[in-house]
């Protein structure tokens, strides 16, 4: 692989990973910046919203200004925005810095599509490389973000991007110099024509479903089941592993409509599986994530290729696909976040009622019941909009060791009820996300078959 091709792939992968890289860090950011679940979701939404809005204008900018210069400028803005994100001391500055990062990302990723055909030798190979880099970035983002959050801090997610963006920009300086040497190319700024509506709508719906798969699984694991970010990162690595396996499968089936259909069905099935988990155990998240991973690799590449096939200029239509994908993520998050935060409150109340019943019916001495009841209710009281943690309510242990087995039993019952509540709270959102994937079959069916 040439240096330029690698640099452009890294640029595209970095920007599309950025869409989801903070997912595993959100609980940490939530606690660190002392905000609400809805507030912290905007760290994710702002980035995707700005990219959705900026992608097509960025593509036009790249064609007018020169793709090499645009890509280098975009990566420089990504580096600056990332540094600002790492230094942000509050939610507002972080959201503003994420928006700057997104503007740079939109410019870099659309310019990369303009540059790739000359670097890889052909539009089709360029499209495949661009789509594959994007899918890899999107799939790997949460896992990398989780590991960095656990090992270093949430700020490190952004700091790491600064040298990556700069290193990816260095090989592009050669292209910038070439552009500077030549006379300003009079580009053929003809009307790019209409975007491929069906493929882009399908991309939006599938991306809304995938936002749920990545964002909600992570929140369920960390906030619901109380796993550490590193364990959660390992669990969600299932998606990129199976996306890799799925990409081999994708090569066996050239028909884009077939791949898109199968991919959307698998994502739908995987999300429905996540919504129907029979127990709060990691093992039950693996098969659904495997389906989502394979589905993701099939559907994203197929729809991106369909949206770009036979359309020129590629940059503008690539801009539309980026816009559709990120708009889908934004719509998915805006619809699903209030649903699961409200479900968390309802389910938490049910879990507290079930836990209170367990406390009342336990065989503990009355005074210990009253004391534990008081500690538990204080512990649960401060957990609005999230699943509470009951562990601290059981410290210190009871004075009489004879009561310890009954206390342990009560704690296990309470934690089981909270696990049930957390899993159930996310269920409706996963099922709704599965519906998004199912609905994407309509535009996929309508999409005109284009064999490349």
């Amino acid at each position: 692989m040439s240096t330029r091709r690698l640099a452009l792939s890294v640029a595209v992968g970095l920007v599309l990973a950025d869409s989801s890289v903070v997912v595993l860090a959100l609980p940490e950011i939530y606690r660190d910046l002392d905000t609400s679940v809805t507030g912290v979701t905007w760290v994710l939404i702002s980035f995707n919203l700005v990219i959705a809005l900026a992608a097509v204008p960025s593509a036009r900018f790249a064609r007018r200004f020169g793709p090499g210069r645009s890509a280098a400028l975009g990566l420089a803005v990504v580096a600056g925005g990332s540094l600002a994100c790492a230094m942000a001391s509050g939610l507002g500055p972080l959201i503003a810095a994420r928006s700057v990062q997104a503007v740079g990302g939109a410019i870099a990723v659309t310019a990369a599509l303009e540059l790739l055909p000359s670097v890889v030798g052909g539009e089709r190979r360029a499209t495949v490389t661009w789509a594959a880099a994007g899918a890899t970035g999107a799939a790997l983002g949460p896992a990398i973000g989780g590991m960095l959050t656990e090992w270093v801090s949430w700020q490190s997610i952004f700091l790491v991007q600064v040298p990556i963006a700069i290193l990816a920009g260095i090989p592009l300086l050669g292209i910038v110099r070439e552009e500077m040497r030549t006379e300003l190319i009079q580009r053929e700024l003809r009307d790019p024509g209409r975007p491929h509506v069906a493929a882009n709508v399908a991309l939006g719906l599938v991306s809304a479903a995938l936002a749920a798969a990545l964002f909600l699984v992570v929140l369920l694991l960390i906030e619901g089941w109380r796993l550490t970010p590193i364990v959660a990162a390992l669990v969600v690595t299932t998606i990129p592993i199976f996306a890799l396996l799925g990409s081999r499968l994708a090569r066996e089936v050239p028909n884009q409509k077939v791949r898109a259909t199968a991919g959307a069905i698998l994502i739908c099935g995987g999300l429905a599986g996540l919504g129907l988990m029979p127990k709060a155990m990691i093992i039950f998240t693996i098969p659904p994530q495997a389906l989502v991973g394979v589905g993701l690799s099939l559907v994203l590449s197929a729809l991106t290729e369909t949206a770009l096939a036979g359309r020129s200029p590629q940059t503008i239509h690539g801009g539309w696909t980026i816009s559709a994908r990120h708009a889908g993520v934004v719509i998915g998050l805006l619809i699903l976040t209030p649903i699961f935060t409200s479900a968390i409150d309802t389910q938490r109340d049910d879990a507290i009622a079930a836990g209170t019943a367990a406390l009342l019916d336990s065989e503990l001495p009355p005074l210990l019941k009253v004391e534990l009841g008081d500690r538990i209710s204080r512990q649960l009281g401060g957990a609005k909009g999230r699943v509470p943690v009951v562990g601290p309510a059981f410290d210190p242990p009871p004075g009489d060791l004879a009561d310890q087995p009954a206390v342990d039993q009560l704690r296990a019952t309470l934690e089981d009820q909270l696990d049930r509540a957390a899993t159930q709270a996310f269920s409706s959102s996963f099922l709704l996300a599965a519906l998004f994937a199912l609905l994407s079959l309509i535009p996929i069916r309508m999409a005109r078959r284009v064999d490349l």
Partner: protein, 211 residues
């Protein structure tokens, strides 16, 4: 006539596509069906029992156990009257602030709360009598007391009814013990009741309560 290799390629590709789509549907259905069969649709917090339904007493063997069962029955009775769960009412009665919030959330005034708590105590006395924890003789004046107990005292009694059952072993120890137990219970009830309320009791109950 020999087959066109391009057609054979198209046909092979089309078959692979069909297998991929059908396979995706089957795998998805197996996953969802398997999770449903394993209880995926019912994995949610346990629902609490309707407080109006009878809740049998667990083989009470001592003061503390009987006092706890009494408190739980009283909570059930009060919650049933208010149309809330026993658990929600228990949380509401922990502090004055929680009680005010509960009353505000459910639009319950002081009189309604007092009436519900008194009804809860009456149910607890009925349940205690059915379980053999107190005698029928002791139950009569206790009910009259419960119906007139001020709300704060009634809530305190639900929280800690052990003083009502200090000599509970007497209640369940044969006829002699039963009578002694009844006298103790009446004595405790007498202590609980303010003078002005005692005067409102039927004369025969006032006689029973005389120390």
């Amino acid at each position: 006539m020999s087959e066109d290799p391009t057609e054979r390629l198209d046909s092979g590709s089309s078959n692979r596509g069909r297998i991929l789509i059908i396979g995706s549907i089957i795998v998805s259905l197996i996953l969802c069906g398997g999770y449903l069969a394993a209880g995926g649709a019912s994995y949610k917090p346990a629902s609490v029992q309707n407080p109006c339904d009878p809740r049998p007493w667990r083989d009470p063997q001592g003061v503390e156990e009987i006092a706890q069962q009494f408190s739980l029955s009283a909570l059930d009775g009060a919650a049933c009257r208010l149309g809330v769960s026993r658990e929600e009412l228990a949380q509401a009665l922990t502090t004055g602030e929680a009680r005010r919030q509960f009353a505000e959330d459910h639009g319950i005034d002081d009189a309604e709360l007092e009436e519900a708590v008194q009804a809860g105590l009456v149910r607890a006395i009925d349940d205690a009598q059915d379980a053999g924890a107190i005698s029928a003789l002791a139950a009569i004046p206790l009910r009259e007391v419960a119906k007139r107990l001020p709300v704060e005292d009634a809530i305190n009694l639900i929280g800690d009814s052990s003083r009502l059952f200090d000599n509970v072993s007497g209640y369940i120890d044969g006829a002699g013990g039963l009578l002694a137990g009844a006298q103790d219970a009446l004595g405790q009830a007498n202590d609980l009741l303010p003078d002005e309320i005692r005067k409102q009791l039927p004369p025969e109950v006032q006689d029973l309560l005389k120390p």
